[in-house]
């Protein structure tokens, strides 16, 4: 069902953990749906110098989290915002279709972490310019896929 690459990232996920005093934190998902993910970033000169994640979820949820952190590290925040669900899935050699929406949340968590960073810096103009000023509240969970039973 999963590609070798997905299984490899599931077996040995990169960047698992928490960054104390992170510059930005983003959480998406819902334990009711079976996937919940938190992304922590450390940023210097608008470049992601460290990134960590914690994920509750299936194999795909864990593998996409790991891959997204690998794709994001070292990138500027603007570059990192180009990372999408599709980018992450492609980098993993594809995901089963039913996992594409429900479990592939890492790009969204990263986006939220970047928004959180900009917010903490009081950079309202950048938030608006990058389209991050209107992200739905975390507890609305409206972005975890149309297939989730909740």
């Amino acid at each position: 069902m999963y590609s070798e690459k997905v299984l490899e990232h599931f077996r040995n996920p990169k960047n698992v953990g928490v960054i104390e005093n992170a510059d930005g934190v983003g959480t998406v998902g819902n334990p009711v749906c079976g996937d919940l993910m938190t992304m922590y970033i450390k940023v210097e000169d608008d470049r992601i110098v460290d990134i960590k994640f914690q994920t509750f979820g299936c194999g795909a949820a864990i593998a996409t989290s790991s891959m997204a952190t690998e794709l994001a590290i070292g990138k500027t925040i603007e570059e990192a915002l180009q990372i999408t669900k599709q980018t992450v899935a492609d980098a993993l050699g594809g995901l089963p279709p039913q996992k594409m929406h429900c479990s592939n949340l890492a790009a969204d968590a990263l986006k939220r972490a970047i928004a959180d960073y900009l917010k903490k810096q009081g950079r309202e103009d950048d938030l608006k310019r990058l389209g991050l000023d209107n992200l739905p509240e975390e507890d609305e969970h409206d972005d975890h896929g149309e297939l989730c039973p909740m």
């Binding site: 509750f56 299936c58 039913q98």
Partner: protein
């Protein structure tokens, strides 16, 4: 390597394979009048005797099908269609196999009324609730003997006492594990499956008590006393017969052996912190250990175990085709997040105590690793400190 997923599929016993090999290339059609046809007919009828003998039925009461799913379809849909003029209402338990649930839904779309009998948190059908659902126009009640996912065994005799309508019992999971005696149950229809007693897949049977009538749902040339069309699967049926013969001799002793392993497995699993048993603590199948691990998700547990050579199943939504959590786990009142972390280990004829020990050695670090990745667990831990 420990295969603990007998609930999903069982290997075929070598003795059964040997029996089946005799008939794979045999050309005889049991309906033919010539001698080769007669040979094939005799094979089928001998198997029918053995299968009926396992459940204390008469051989004339056995209809061979392509498996438990078809037998359940035939029982629910076939019975309702045949007996429609007697009434329009059927009741099935909330934790029936999906082939029963979907048969009931099919009937609902075709004008029948369906109620689902609720179960308690251990998965036992609540007799008082069942009784209150029964009506004058209730023609059929379907309750499984034991649930493969949580292991709970129902009190069929007590259910029989309150049900005046026809009673169908799905004994797929219980056959060969605990006693399945159609007379003691008082059932009118009983579903059984070959693979669950280490016979081939693609074969099952429906017991139809003498006088109980159903409409066939597979239409053909009148085979199986008109109850199931299509040329009989002779090697498959021969294998089912052999499997029934072996099971009849061995099941009691085997059941004790399984129970010992199951108890050790459950005890060991529950030693892992925040791990809970699903199903009934005593009235459960001797081969079933169903548990849930808080804060983590079943598919990741299965993948991790598979990397250690251990196979099991989960009721997590993340592995189902519909992405819905198991209806059984919902019916016993689990929250979605609890259902996600459920894993069912099922033992069988080739399970050994060293398999159980291996699982108990390998599993705790897997659970620990996934929990260390889980924001739910870390939150709980920091909250608890």
């Amino acid at each position: 390597m420990p295969y603990l997923d007998y609930v999903a599929g069982s290997p075929v016993d070598d003795r059964v394979v040997e029996e089946m090999m005799k008939y794979f290339s045999h050309p005889g059609n049991p309906s033919s009048v010539h001698s080769l046809g007669l040979e094939a007919r005799n094979v089928v009828e001998e198997a029918r005797n053995k299968v009926s003998g396992l459940i204390n039925a008469d051989s004339s009461e056995i209809v061979f099908t392509s498996g438990a799913t078809e037998a359940n379809n035939l029982a629910i849909i076939g019975y309702a269609m045949r007996n429609r003029r007697k009434g329009n209402h059927i009741v099935v338990s909330a934790i029936e196999h999906i082939s029963v649930i979907n048969s009931a839904k099919f009937l609902m779309k075709n004008g029948f009324e369906v109620d689902y009998a609720p179960v308690d948190r251990f998965g036992k059908v609540r007799l008082d609730e069942l009784e209150s659902l029964l009506r004058d126009d209730t023609i059929l009640v379907s309750v499984q003997h034991a649930n493969p996912e949580i292991g709970t065994v129902q009190e069929i005799r007590e259910i029989r006492e309150v049900v005046k309508a026809a009673l169908h019992v799905d004994a797929t999971a219980s056959l060969g594990k605990i006693e399945v005696d159609v007379e003691k149950m008082g059932a009118d229809m009983v579903t059984i499956s070959s693979n669950d007693i280490y016979g081939p897949r693609g074969v099952g049977a429906l017991y139809l008590r003498k006088g109980v009538r159903v409409n066939p749902i597979i239409l053909g040339g009148g085979q199986e006393s008109g109850m199931r069309g299509g040329t009989e699967n002779v090697p498959g049926i021969a294998g089912f017969g052999k499997a029934a013969e072996i099971t009849k001799k061995e099941w009691r002793k085997e059941s004790e052996r399984l129970k010992e392993m199951r108890d050790r497995l459950i005890d060991g699993l529950l030693e892992i912190e925040e791990t809970f048993l699903n199903g009934h603590p005593e009235d459960r199948l001797p081969n079933n250990a169903s548990v849930r691990f808080s804060y983590i998700e079943g598919e990741s547990i299965l993948l991790s175990m598979d990397m250690e050579g251990i196979q099991a199943s989960t009721g997590s939504a993340c592995t189902s085709k519909t992405l819905q959590p198991s209806h059984v786990l919902m019916a016993i009142g689990l929250k979605h997040e609890e259902a996600h972390g459920s894993v069912v280990f099922s033992l069988g004829r080739w399970s050994r105590m060293e398999d159980v020990n291996y699982v108990l050695e390998k599993l705790p670090p897997i659970i620990e690793r996934l929990r260390m990745m889980s924001p739910l667990y870390m939150k709980k831990k920091s909250g608890g400190d």
